[in-house]
């Protein structure tokens, strides 16, 4: 019985094969299916292409925004320089008059009028502070004043530390040197680079009023990872594969709040008390480093510490 049933099925199938047009329909169906598969693949490819284009567009937009921000920053700095030169003369003259008037009054006032002498001292300090701000603005608004000579960067670091040693000692800061030997000499303006390190060490001391550790490192490295201003783009300062001398100044102090990290190099930005900081220290640092066609970066975690990394050019570009 089973045998006869199978036979019947086979014969039915066999009979379908022989239906005129069935083979043609199957072929057509196969083609439709293949077209459907191809279409799906094409859509998938198009979606992938679209994703890549979107990603590239996003990267370009990000880069454009960065370049725009850099341009705005550069223009801002140039404007500060122009303004500084313009106002310097006008501000320094009245400051000179104030200081000399204070000198006159200091001699005229009887020594027993201690309160009045204290007032004069405060006036004098304020006038000098105003002068310091104008001088700082003036000094770093002129890139042409760079007096670069070949220098041993470790020697520059050590002489700079010497100038802030008392403050570091007073704040119970332990200095840990990790300076590499036989580093290539750098073509830098020694006075200005000393100013950079003095400002960084001073800031570190201020960040550790109850003590801490100050790590000072120097080493030679090959730049391998693309970062801001490091890469093979037109406006990058360092090319990938280029050798650079790195100086790191790292403290274990109170750190910088995330919101403030992108403002710390702006002129007049300070988190210090009014009479303690002019808000120009790190602006000066960045201006000097940029004058040397080098880079400075900062990493910080609030409550854990701050690390400044200076990437120095060692190629002949500094000689141009």
């Amino acid at each position: 019985m089973v045998k006869s049933l199978k036979k019947t099925k086979t014969s039915r199938r066999g009979s379908r094969k022989n239906i005129p047009g069935c083979k043609k329909t199957r072929k057509k169906l196969g083609r439709v299916l293949q077209d459907k598969i191809n279409l799906r693949q094409a859509i998938k490819n198009a979606v992938e292409d679209n994703r890549k284009i979107k990603e590239e567009l996003g990267n370009s937009l990000k880069r454009l925004k960065e370049v725009q921000a850099q341009l705005i920053h550069a223009e801002k700095m140039e404007a500060v320089g122009r303004m500084a030169s313009g106002v310097a003369h006008e501000v320094k003259n009245p400051l000179g008059i104030i200081l000399q008037c204070i000198n006159y009054l200091e001699e005229e006032l009887p020594p027993e009028q201690k309160d009045n002498h204290q007032m004069l001292e405060m006036m004098k300090n304020s006038a000098k502070r105003a002068d310091k701000i104008v001088r700082t603005l003036l000094s770093f608004s002129r890139a042409e004043e760079l007096k670069a000579q070949e220098q041993d960067i470790n020697a520059v670091i050590e002489s700079s530390i010497g100038m802030v040693q008392d403050k570091l000692k007073f704040n119970s800061v332990e200095i840990i040197y990790q300076l590499a030997e036989s580093l290539p000499k750098l073509l830098v303006d020694r006075d200005k680079i000393e100013q950079v390190f003095i400002n960084l060490f001073n800031n570190a001391a201020d960040a550790m009023p109850k003590g801490g550790k100050l790590y000072v490192r120097s080493y030679l490295t090959e730049l391998k990872t693309p970062k801001d201003k490091i890469g093979n783009r037109g406006n990058d300062i360092f090319k990938l594969g280029e050798n650079a001398v790195i100086v790191e100044v790292e403290d274990t102090g109170e750190g910088i709040k995330e919101d403030n990290l992108n403002k710390i190099f702006d002129p007049f930005f300070t988190t210090k008390k009014r009479m303690e900081g002019t808000g120009l220290g790190l602006w000066v640092v960045k201006s000097i480093i940029e004058m040397h066609k080098s880079l400075i970066n900062v990493e910080s975690k609030s409550g854990q510490g701050t690390k400044f990394t200076v990437i120095f050019k060692i190629s002949d570009e500094m000689r141009s």
Binding site: S85, A88, H89, E90, V91, K92, N93, L95, G96, I97, I98, L99, Q100, C101, N103, Y104, E107, A127, D131, L138, R142, E145
Partner: protein, 125 residues
């Protein structure tokens, strides 16, 4: 002791007043001030100063012009000139040095700094 003669040329009236008062108070200097450098050569010939303190940026005639005038005059040419200026850059110094300026003092300065500079220059004479 004979008082040394100091001539100050500056376009800031108050600066001239207070500097004159402070210097003369020491009893060591006789001070003549000029707000405008237009008649500088004739004034110098009349007063015969031992030293001239000169501002650089002045409206009618600037420090550079004043130096040129003085250095070209046989009577005034040997008087030491010290510039007092708010713009005290290396470039300014180079220009003024070429014109015969012997020293520089950046504004603002305190009375003691000014006196120290005057004495230093007078001793070099």
């Amino acid at each position: 002791m004979e008082k040394k003669k100091v001539m100050i040329v500056d376009d800031e009236e108050d600066f001239l007043k207070i500097t004159k008062i402070n210097l003369e108070k020491t009893g060591r200097y006789e001070v003549r001030t000029m707000l405008d450098a237009a008649d500088i050569v004739s004034e110098v010939k009349l007063f015969l100063p031992d030293i001239i303190l000169l501002d650089i940026l002045m409206p009618k005639m600037d420090g550079v012009e004043v130096c040129k005038l003085l250095k070209n005059d046989s009577a005034a040419g040997n008087i030491p000139i010290v510039t007092l200026s708010g713009l005290d850059t290396d470039k300014d110094r180079q220009i003024m040095h070429k014109l015969g300026v012997v020293d520089f003092l950046a504004k603002p300065m305190e009375k003691d700094e000014l006196i120290a500079k005057i004495e230093e220059v007078l001793q070099r004479k």
